[in-house]
Amino acid sequence: MSLLRMEEITKRFPGVVANDQVDLVLEEGEIHALLGENGSGKSTLMNMLYGIYRPDAGRILLRDKEVQFSSPTDAISAGIGMVHQHFMLVPTMTVTENVILGLKEQKGRWNPLLDTRGAEKRINALAEQYGLDIEPNARVWQLPVGAQQRVEILKSLYRNAEILVLDEPTAVLAPKEVEHLIEVLRNLARSGKSIIFISHKLNEVIQLADRVSVLRNGVLSGQVDVADATASQLAEMMVGRQVETPKKKPRKSGETILTTANLVVKDDRSLIAVDDLTFDLAKGEIFGVAGVDGNGQKELTEAIAGVRSIESGNLEISGLSKSRGKRFREIGHVTEDRHQTGVVLPFSLWENYALKVCGTPPYGNWLNMNTGVMQEQTRAAIDQFSIKATGPDVAMSTLSGGNQQKVVLARELALDPKLLLAAQPTRGLDVGAAEYVHERLLSARDSGMAIMLISTELEEVLALSDRIMVMYEGKSMGLVDASQASREMLGLMMAGVSLENIENGMSQ
């Protein structure tokens, strides 16, 4: 008897078949990975399991009994918990409040007051049991993503979930946090919980999962035991071809475009986030900025992009126009938080695409936008980046997460900026798409663009960068040539050990 069986599940959206007769089997205590390209229907499948969507056809069986979920409530009471790609937390509430939201946690039957104390105790107990580090009184908006994710997991555990679904849980995590999460998930599986997790990172899948199901264009294209699979096999199952790691050409030297000296920047809470940074960046170079999320990368990027003011020190970008409009076109910026700062969800793709360039030839002038040209360009971008969308007129909100990211990338690259700030450019992208993005970044570099790559993923930083700076608590832990850097070394620096100390340690 399997714990969960989804049989011949079909789901259509206007214009797409998101799931086409998909079968999925989950055993008790199993960690099951769900792989697939962007827009292949993973989230949709899981949303049906969680009662958010209803399948157009097919059955869901729990312990061989057919179930029908008309809302998440049903799914929850059937023992299913889900951690969404975009967290489902109320930012203004505390951790405890988020966890007990919707539950009858009150001080006795006749006392309607919330029993936060009692809830906190249980949260702490659960947190200890599964090694989830959490501060119950903190407000969610103040927490780093990793912690928010733990809150999400706790929410499910608190509701006695037997099956835990995680949609791209590692996409937003730093390597350390990923390791921690993997540990947590193993603990959960050991104690009898079953886990479905979606990821684009094959090495994690291999490290963690027992079995893998792969979706392609809404169809189940294979199911394998991880023991029998290699990363490249999985990649091929996903994209239908061999995926290669990008080859980097030697760097041509170019003139310096960005210089900073003793730069200090504050964050939204007026705390110092970037602390005394000095570095420069030249044309034709990819400058990697590594570090655990929340160590000042965001503030640094925003300061360079011109949307955050500088506290002290110097920040100079040479050859930039005086005019504000031009300046923003001369600096491309793939922002970290796609939904908040990257796209306008209710706008069409072409409007999103035109956001920065509208009003400049050939897209029209200040008095008149040439919508035809903009739509044409968007259509071209859809083809080039193989964005899964029916045309430039559809709303951004109907695209899958990865595809939205591609639109942003296409837009920023189309600006042909002097300086490109790329923050987590492949977050949420499938391996095939990530490969394409990497290629594009490298070719942009080769044609002389200066690129600052901000990423929490060491593989990516190592593979693309010419030089790498690691940030820790706003400070630079050191600047190394990519050819001389190693995973271990960067890992240490991300943990707050400065390059100097590492070298001293090695020399000793």
Binding site: S70, G306, R329, D337, Q340, G342, K356, W366, Q375
Partner: protein, 356 residues
């Protein structure tokens, strides 16, 4: 908004659909109100015949309806425009008073100008004053984070009381007995299109303005940016759009449009300023804007609908003796029924859910 023949066809279908929808809604609302009319002891058929005749009966009636449409287009546009930038301007009424005040001052105290110039100056003054009043709310929003709903509500009262003060004292018509200004100079008056009905070219200016605003919003970079600020402040900021400046700008333009409602009312029909001269055009503008789906062209139709109902209601009162308050009920129910068009979809979905 693409321009191919296909796009035009889909747009035409859309317009036809929403028109038939609105007509159905009006029909239903009239049906509901008929009950009230019966309750009051009148014959609904006679009442409605009068209403129809009052609004469209002859060229005189149509002229009145169009004259009434004019300021509503402006206030509707004002609210709709601000809303495209995610700002809820409840202050069109106050901005209208500001605009009227400025226009009347120019119309009375500036003399010796040739007609077109004087008119243009009065219009510019009305727009500027409205823009200042709206911009004040915009400034409070962008500089101090003060929610525009609060500030515009408060500024309404301030403007209305200030105008009252002005017309009873500083700019009262000498010798200062009546609470009103003198009439604006004939050179500052908008030419009348239909002589018997007092319909001025204000209606053309209003429609032109609506088309211009539609163009501004959908065909210019400024419009795209403004709408971006409205839909996602974050995305706007990162695209280099100066969000605060845009909010300020949007509130100013919105205020200016509302100010023009005051202007056309003064130089197009009332000619002098009295306190409480507006029958709530600014508040009606809120309903007009959203009924027109915040689309400038939609605003024209919504304003026309509102005006027709109002003008028709006056006739209904005059011929049957039914109180005009009834028309507020009709207006309100028309809106509710138009909103209620979603009911079919809702019902279907509910049936589906029950069935599943």
């Amino acid at each position: 908004m693409s321009v191919g023949p296909d796009a035009i066809r889909t747009r035409a279908i859309k317009v036809a659909k929403s028109t038939s929808l609105s007509l159905t809604a009006i029909g239903l609302a009239l049906l509901v109100s008929a009950v009230l009319i019966l309750l009051a002891g009148f014959n609904p058929l006679i009442a409605y015949a009068a209403l129809l005749k009052g609004a469209f009966g002859d060229s005189f009636a149509i002229g009145n309806t169009l004259a009434r449409t004019t300021p509503l287009i402006f206030t509707g546009l004002a609210v709709a425009f601000a809303f495209r930038c995610n700002l809820l301007n409840i202050g069109a009424e106050g901005q209208l008073y500001a605009g009227a005040l400025a226009s009347v001052v120019v119309g009375i105290f500036v003399t010796g100008l040739p007609t077109p110039l004087h008119i243009m100056l009065a219009i510019a003054a009305g727009f500027a004053a409205g823009a200042m009043w709206g911009g004040l709310a915009g400034l409070m929003k962008s500089q101090r984070g003060i929610n525009e709903i609060v500030s515009t509500i408060m500024l309404n009262f301030v403007a209305i009381f200030f105008v009252s003060y002005m017309v009873q004292g500083p700019i009262a018509e000498p010798p200062g007995f009546f609470h009103q200004t003198a009439q604006v100079a004939t050179t500052a008056r908008l030419p009348i299109i239909a002589p018997k009905s007092d319909l001025s070219i204000g209606i053309l200016i209003a429609v032109g303005c609506a088309i211009f605003i539609a163009y501004l919003l959908w065909r210019t970079p400024f419009g795209l940016r403004l709408r971006t600020v409205g839909r996602s402040e974050g995305a706007a900021r990162f695209a280099g759009i100066p969000v605060n400046r845009f909010m300020f700008g949007a509130m100013s333009i919105s205020g200016g449009l509302a100010g023009l409602a005051g202007t056309v009312e003064i130089i197009g029909s009332q000619y002098r300023l009295l306190d409480f001269f507006s029958p709530g055009y600014g508040f009606d503008g809120i309903a007009v804007a959203f009924l027109g789906r915040s689309d400038p062209i939609g605003v024209i139709f919504a304003a026309f609908l509102f005006a027709a109902l109002r003008i028709g209601a006056n006739q209904m009162q005059r011929t049957t003796g039914l109180p005009t308050s009834l028309v507020l009920v009709i207006q309100g129910t028309v809106i509710l029924f138009i909103l209620g068009a979603g009911i079919l979809q809702w019902y279907r979905q509910r049936q589906q859910e029950k069935g599943a």
